[in-house]
Amino acid sequence: MITFNINDTEVQAEPGWTVLETARQYEIEIPTLCYHEAVSSSGACRLCMVELKDGSWSKLVASCIYPVAEGINVYTETERVKNVRRWVFEMLLAQCPASGEIKQLAAKHGVESTRFSIKDPDEECMVCGLCTRACEEIVGLSAISMVDRGVHKKIGAPFSRPTEVCVACGCCVTICPTGAMRSRIDAVRGIPKITLTPLAV
């Protein structure tokens, strides 16, 4: 049994739990986007950042991957945390303006507008990689993956053509936190054949 504090309230956890899991067990809310219970967490979106304090020393960590430790003091709503959150949301709003899901979450945390210019008004994807993790860990395939790097990073099938590997199970669509996979899956599984078939419906 490990005992530590979240927002000055004492919580208990088992070794191997993450800070986020413990927080959720105690129904303390921490926003997440690239996190899903079904797959391993990657700590990419940085929305789940929390502040660890120890006297004057303090640092920010991603709660979805930070393992619990005896006696740490975790704070989920400090200024530094909020600062990161606010900027991440603003950047997301500018990056994925088409995603209603992100708009909702941002609004929920008091970010309604962004000061950045919008590059592609139809963009939804935030390249969190949930879909690729789902494909690999849940389906046991690897039909899609991260392509390219840095600002150009995107999700896709090799050589951006439909791939034989994909079984069109739709896990990527279901797990996608921004709804971006909806418009992408046909590029992966191939447009479904709708030739007129004898079956009378």
Partner: protein, 633 residues
């Protein structure tokens, strides 16, 4: 198993003990004839680019054709970077100790004739002081070298890096032999700890502490443990690791083997940037030779200590300089960093305890083991011991490799060793630590250069690039440059880095396009804060540094950009205009011929004029004009 694998020329017999090594060394030394001349041609990247390969061939040819007497037939060696790159190709002649610079293939016969045969110096090839105009014969007299303390670079430029015999002759692998015969692994670690050596890769983490941490982890998790050389020197403007690997590969290798001995590692990896083919080649050769002599591989020096190493070529990703990214890259995946909540000494390569050090750090290890921790601790300043190699580049006379004790004042490096700026102007700022470092303005010129002082000043040691800037360099542009660089190099895993950097750059773009507002500067700093806090790896969290330091020290210049739409340095295209000074212009037409827009008008022998509206500010006219008639405002 790698490309360009190198076969050993002659069959050699393994060295099975310290005495074997010493005997062998003695043989080599005896075989040297002290008064047989030797011509050492610098084969650093810079000098090669300047044609030192052709030069070497020319010298060889000259020796044959000019019938040099067999007794004084010079041995011609290609060495690693001799340091003073801006004056390359460099040639060093023993035993005369003469130092020639800017030597071209055409000078070969002259050198052979004058120096080798007639034993006289070739005047016009000697180094001439730009200020005083005095001639220097010997390397050690030249201020550039005189003021340095060369320990790591000691052998570079003196030995042929492709011949292990040279290295052994100058005392290579003595430290290893000493450790294997007289020291326990723990003692080695202890020595390193006592020496106060700190990682030369940037953050300056105490190497000893790292190794001890690894030992603890090994107790917990057991072996295997890995030792890794970080040779992915991505910082633009830094090539000291390159020079070390090219010029003295055995130093790195010996350091690595010592580390392996200290930690009981059986496998080591050298991760080297693909842009350094020569370094890779030389290290391969070094490893082949070390293996052949029984200094690497099974039962090293007859002991029961076995260690193997392999070279991993980087594939062009700056982020792979970051430890966890480097590990994933060695594992054959895309170099995305992992969160570092478990330290890599505990969970590194393949989740095993791993010690990763930078090339220069490894190169320091042998001399510590050989000369003892105390000797080393006396060099430099208490908290930062030893020396540091810097790459002095940018607007400075003596561009090249510089090694000074820690704590040397900045001015000393730039003005005395670097020989000041062209035209003798004071420097505007020095950018240290590459993209993750910061700018140090002139008024801090007496800042002692060591880890802590630099960090205090908001810059950082980084791998040790020092870019000197003058008043023609715009800090906004520099900040922009580094941000663009990191934006391209960001792995794109975490949001703050992937999106934040390009957003910061956007704001700076606006500045340089003259469409920024003063409040943007505050946004910039807020965003920078968020990135520092939020980013997943060191690349991201240190990325805002250049921007932040420049804002800190040159806020007025930023203000100038946003408030009065001016670029004081005359760099930001949209804020400048080119014009031709009718007085100075001779009407030679060369600029109008070169202008890609054809927007320079005027007939022969008459002053020309630039059509503002059509000018794209490419600056070619300014570049071509021999009469400095093109002015920028």
């Amino acid at each position: 198993m790698f490309n360009g694998n190198v076969a050993l020329k002659t069959e050699v017999n393994r060295l099975n003990s310290h005495t074997d090594l010493n005997d062998f060394r003695q043989q080599i030394l005896d075989s040297y004839d002290p008064d047989r001349p030797e011509i050492l041609v610098c084969h650093g990247t810079g000098c090669i680019a300047n044609g030192s390969v052709e030069l070497t061939q020319a010298l060889k040819k000259a020796c044959q054709t000019m019938g040099v007497d067999a007794k004084i037939m010079p041995g011609i060696k290609s060495t690693g970077c001799q340091g003073l790159c801006s004056k390359g190709p460099l040639v060093h002649i023993k035993p005369h100790g003469l130092f020639y610079q800017r030597v071209k293939a055409k000078n070969a016969e002259e050198i052979i004739q004058k120096t080798i045969i007639e034993n006289k110096p070739v005047k016009h090839l000697l180094y001439k002081d730009p200020q005083t105009g005095e001639l220097f014969h010997k390397e050690e007299d030249i201020p550039f070298y005189k003021k340095q303390k060369r320990y790591v670079l000691k052998n570079i430029g003196k030995i042929d890096p492709t011949r292990i015999e040279d290295k052994i002759a100058v005392g290579g692998y003595q430290a290893l032999a000493k450790a294997l015969t007289t020291m326990t692994p723990e003692q080695v670690v202890e020595q390193i700890t006592k020496s106060g050596l700190r990682g030369r890769g940037g953050a300056g983490f105490p190497t000893g502490r790292k190794w001890q941490g690894a030992l603890k982890a090994i107790e917990k998790k057991g072996r295997p443990v890995y030792v890794v050389v970080n040779g992915d020197e991505g910082d633009p403007g830094a090539f000291m690791d390159c020079a070390i690997m090219e010029g003295d590969p055995h130093a790195v290798l010996e350091g690595l083997i010592l580390g392996a001995y200290a930690l009981g590692a059986e496998m080591g990896y050298l991760y080297i940037r693909a842009e350094y083919p020569i370094a890779i080649k030389h290290l391969q050769i070094a490893m082949e030779q070390a293996k052949a002599y029984g200094l690497l591989g099974e039962n090293i020096l007859g002991s029961d200590f076995c260690f193997n190493a392999q070279i991993n070529r980087g594939a062009g990703a700056f982020v792979c300089g970051e430890s966890t990214a480097l590990f994933t890259s060695i594992e054959g995946k895309a170099g995305n960093p992992r969160p570092k909540y478990v330290r890599s000494v505990e969970e590194g390569l393949w989740g095993r305890p791993t010690v990763l050090n930078n090339v220069e750090t490894w190169a320091n290890v042998p001399m510590i083991v050989e000369n003892g921790a105390d000797w080393y601790a006396n060099i430099g300043v208490p908290k930062s011991t030893g020396t540091k190699v810097f790459c002095l580049v940018g607007k400075v006379n003596n561009v090249g490799l510089v090694e000074v004790p820690m704590g040397t004042p900045l001015a000393e490096i730039v003005e005395n060793i670097g020989g000041g700026l062209p035209g003798g102007a004071p420097f505007k700022a020095v950018q240290t630590g590459g993209p993750s470092g910061g700018c140090i303005p002139y008024h801090l010129k007496d800042l002692p250069v060591d880890f802590d002082s630099l960090t205090k000043a908001g810059a950082m040691m980084g791998s040790g690039a020092m870019i000197v800037m003058d008043d023609r360099d715009c800090v906004v542009d520099v900040a922009r440059y580094f941000l663009r660089f990191l934006e391209e190099e960001s792995c794109g895993k975490c949001l703050p880095c992937r999106l934040g950097l390009s957003r910061m750059r956007e704001i700076l773009d606006n500045f340089s396009h003259g469409c920024g507002e003063e409040k943007d500067i505050d946004d910039l700093m807020g965003l920078a804060q968020a990135i520092q806090d939020g980013a997943l790896c060191a690349l991201g969290s240190s990325a805002p540094n250049p921007c932040l330091t420049t804002i800190k020290f040159f806020k007025d210049e930023y203000i100038a950009h946003v408030r009065d739409q001016k670029c004081p340095a005359g760099v930001c295209k949209d804020l400048i205009t080119y014009s031709i000074d009718p007085e100075a212009c001779t009407g030679c037409m060369s600029c109008s011929r070169q202008c890609p827009q054809g927007c320079i008008s005027g007939e022969k022998k008459k002053p020309h004029a630039i059509d503002e509206s059509a000018c794209i500010r490419c600056g070619i006219c300014m570049e071509t004009c021999k009469f400095k008639a093109v002015i920028v405002r």
